[in-house]
Subunit: 382 residues, 2 copies
């Protein structure tokens, strides 16, 4: 069977996940600083509670939008003033589906443009590419430690920009957008005429935050789509339970598109989520991350790295001064059995950098940093 097959050229053209491809090279003894997921264990009591519920009620479809009880719990927990009712929430198959469905539903490829705030997780750009949505980029710079620069973001909004996509706490940089920057951007958007410009605020690292000033578009901007999940907060990446919180005007369309994509989120996973919200377990693992972050910043200082101090998420980005960060990461695996993610997958401005995650045991991170430093010393400009 070597016959030429026909495939949608949009899907052919888009790349797969570089991060997953690097991860696939991991060996038994590799030091893995590439992971985008927690190594902590989830609380199995939530699974047992959900199994008991299934024993009593079965495991039937929920409504497309999700269980009313969970939608209400999420709306109430985040309490975004204009988005605080159950009908503002759609439960999805992880935040990935929330992002996919929100971008697909709200952007018209024939007329609209999406503005990506980079460095950013590559998924936003890939989805835009698959859907044929034109992309504009505003790239945050290493000179500012990749800080969210409200003025530059505002200046980058074009006449066709219909959505701004931003992840804070940020994967990969670990930076957090502050309340004042959020207010400035929201203020500017609010003054524009015509149909509203949506802000897709990816909040998936919200529980991993190490500073007090946490900006949230949902607090001040009614055209926010806040996406989140239990994946990072509760070590439940494999549960595939996420959500989108958004304006009542657009949620029916988002729910409809979600329905045609996956019908509804898992009823079992929704019971786990109900249990987590009911027992207030969302921040249960926060202290571990805070301690880990403090220790890893100390390790990076000791290794004399040029790095960004993370304000959130569980990544620490190192400037290894590589001409080609992808080649650097392959060399790092080949020669030192350490996995890290090249900065170039997140933004042009991160070329030369790598992203390390700090979810592994500290002795492994320490040893990983030692090996990275030795490779970096070889490639660094004199």
């Amino acid at each position: 069977m070597t016959r030429r097959v026909s495939i949608n050229p949009r899907v052919s053209a888009v790349g797969g996940s570089t991060i997953r491809a690097l991860h696939a090279r991991r060996g038994q003894r590799s030091i893995d600083l590439g992971m985008g997921e927690p190594t902590l264990r989830p609380d199995v009591a939530h699974f047992e509670a959900a199994s008991r519920w299934v024993a009593q009620h079965g495991c039937r479809y929920s409504s497309n939008a999700g269980e009313p009880e969970l939608r209400a719990a999420i709306a109430e927990h985040y309490a975004y003033p204009a988005l605080n009712r159950a009908e503002n929430v759609c439960i999805t198959t992880g935040s990935q589906e929330a992002v996919y469905v929100a971008m697909k539903t709200l952007l018209d490829p024939a007329h609209d443009e999406v503005l990506l705030v980079e460095p950013a997780f590559p998924v936003y750009g890939k989805i835009a590419e698959i859907e044929g949505i034109p992309v504009r980029r505003v790239v945050l710079e290493p000179e500012d430690d990749f800080a969210f620069d409200a003025e530059r973001i505002i200046a980058s909004i074009g006449p066709k920009t219909r959505m701004l996509v931003l992840c804070s706490p940020c994967n990969p940089t670990g930076r957090i957008i502050g309340t004042e920057s959020v207010r400035r951007i929201a203020g500017d958007l609010g003054r524009r005429s015509g149909p509203p410009v949506y802000v897709l605020h990816d909040e998936i690292y919200r529980e991993q935050r190490y500073v007090d000033d946490l900006g949230a578009f949902g607090n001040v901007y009614p055209w926010t789509i806040a996406v989140n999940s239990l994946s990072k907060s509760n070590a439940l990446t494999g549960l595939r339970l996420g959500w989108a919180i958004g304006p009542a005007e657009v949620m029916p369309a988002i729910v409809k598109m979600h329905g045609w994509t996956t019908s509804c989120a898992s009823t079992f996973a929704q019971r786990v989520a109900i249990e987590i919200f009911r027992t207030g377990a969302l921040p249960a693992q926060r202290e571990w991350y805070a301690a880990q972050r403090e220790a890893v910043v100390e390790l990076a200082r000791e290794a004399r790295f040029d790095f960004v101090v993370p304000e959130g998420a569980f990544y620490l980005c190192l400037n290894v001064h590589a001409a080609d960060s992808l080649a650097f990461c392959h060399d790092l695996i080949d020669e030192h059995d350490v996995i890290a993610v090249p900065g170039s997958v997140f933004a042009a401005s991160m070329e030369g950098w790598i992203r390390t995650s700090f979810v592994s045991p500290l002795d492994q991170i320490s040893e990983g940093y030692r090996r990275i430093a030795s490779l970096a010393a070889l490639v660094a400009p004199a």
Copy 2:
């Protein structure tokens, strides 16, 4: 907030689920013959086994394509000659996502056309509409009891047809395509030049079959995409665990698209599935359906309905001779508190018919049939 909002016109234009909308009208005491899901309970032992696995291993991402062990088990179980390896299988969020991702990946809206064999579950047409894929239809007729007519299906394949979509055992008709018809269609497709025409065979009702001659494209046609799930076989609609089995040439593209849509299927749900395949529990509920089908055919005969004897699935279609089957179904709720699904949502040739599911207790089905007959008597042509 009554501001005009901007939404992707493709998503705006497509309708929501009529079936779900009718279902939403269900009251406490309604007789529900509208349901597209089992009323049996799933085996909670599978959930407990999966929870124990999570306690030991956590609940982390699987690879995009799914757990190798599950992919291998599925490939081996169905043993489709050209599609019998783990790499032929992608685990998805229910069969809904499998259908969505397969159609999206394999069809180029600019050049390809999809041929739907109707009556059919509306989802195929809705997905084509959202993706802008031109649709051609071959409509099976009530005079043939909606039998799959191989010659008519072959005659309907046009020069741009790149995919044929067919559900057997069929939702809604309950008809099954036989091995000889499958062989004829596959033979015709195999003789055509140019890129292969894919056959998307939706097999979700495979375990609910009441005749011996079960045609499966996977057995004879290498360009089959067989989609299926645990939803109907094991009363697990809420688990959202499905899969696509397809040619090795296209699976990497399908897996990639699946990755950008939902990342991966639930690791927990995959453990439940592994347990089901390991213990041979896939056909565990077949006898109940066979008994139920026998009883319900008897009820339909007693009520002197004009109906199609189901060969598979859990639906029995009745000709109620309504001029407008949607209006009939609304009247049925309003006046008799019975839920059924109008034939018109499945095909033009099913106008005047309704779909009843036979998953409710027999006394309820019997009472429901009594009420349907009394309403039908009012609307029937003299």
